[in-house]
Symmetry: C2
Subunit: 202 residues, 2 copies
């Protein structure tokens, strides 16, 4: 059985139907003789991946009904996992997409939490600091709370305004899902989408 | 009659009761013989300002009922202008504060629109670009829309969730007020707050 692999800008994530694990890009070489169905958003790796004989790029086979131009392979795969609802991927960027009856209705992009923290740091040294716990129902009473709230709660409100259910994945997915009413964390969401494509292709 | 002056990180804004105008910091010297009631958040200017004889710093006289620690002089002045409602100052940072019956209930900080655009640029060159018109009711269908929506709409949703009326001021205030249901732009809001303090002091 072929492995599934989602290659992002920072890491590659593998899934064998049971377990998932991540690898740095420079270890992909070790899998070159495996059968792997993959998607890749790191353009610098494209050429090398084509030399891996048992590897199949799923991107050309991913079809999704949408008017959106420029939907990345990873967003497509996540959306294919969901028939109805909001799909959130909280990585170095946060992508938020809306699915209705299997159709992609559009979506937006927000900076990842790490990027937002860096951004506040460039405004003023006072706004640089560790994240502190916040929740939408309690207005901040100090600068560090005001920043953590500003990083997270506007995003939460924009996500919630799109409807439900809300599926959340990605490195900061757990943190974010905890703040979202009816937010459900699913670390394997992208593989559920890729699985559907693989069934037709690999 | 004394002038009012709000000295921010980029410019100083003056108000004579009728007109308002801005000056770069290096032109403040020209006003040293005027009678001026001011607030200043640019710490590097503090010492020089103390040598201006007719100038009175209003900060020590600004009293506002709040549990918030570290509320800047400019935020205090804006809040003093409003008895009930949400106060938004869209500058190099965006501050959002809630007032209820003259009491400050808390608030949060969001990066200014220029800072947010820079932030997206550091994630990927694809996310760098001009702002395009967006509105909350229409989900983006292209990358540039997805970014402009991400910069503005989460902030709009977080502001709207705090209640109304919503008073908006600052350099990007007009743009933001247009997107907020019941958002009212008021370029002189801070001077309305300072006026109240001045009446007691200068």
């Amino acid at each position: 059985m072929a492995l599934l692999c989602d290659i992002g800008n920072s890491f590659a994530h593998f899934y064998d139907g049971v377990r998932s694990w991540r690898e740095p890009h420079n270890r992909l070489e070790l899998y070159r003789r495996e059968r792997v169905c993959y998607i890749n958003v790191k353009t610098a790796l494209e050429e090398e991946l084509r030399t891996f004989e048992g590897w199949t790029d799923l991107e050309p086979f991913m079809e999704i009904e949408t008017d959106y131009r420029g939907l990345g392979a990873d967003r497509k795969a996540l959306c294919l996992a969901v028939e109805d609802g909001v799909v959130v991927d909280a990585g170095s960027a946060v992508t938020v997409d809306l699915m209705e009856k299997g159709r992609h209705k559009g979506g937006f992009i927000y900076p990842g939490i790490t990027k937002m923290r860096e951004c506040y740091g460039t405004i003023s040294p006072i706004l640089k600091g560790e994240m502190v716990p916040v929740r939408a129902q309690r207005l901040p009473q100090r600068t560090d709370e005001a920043v953590s709230y500003g990083i997270l709660i506007p995003l939460v409100k924009a996500i919630e305004s799109l409807g439900s259910p809300i599926y959340v994945t990605g490195g900061d997915g757990r943190l974010l899902a905890d703040l979202i009413t009816d937010g459900m964390y699913d670390g394997l969401l992208i593989f559920k989408g890729l699985e559907k494509v693989k069934e037709r292709v690999c």
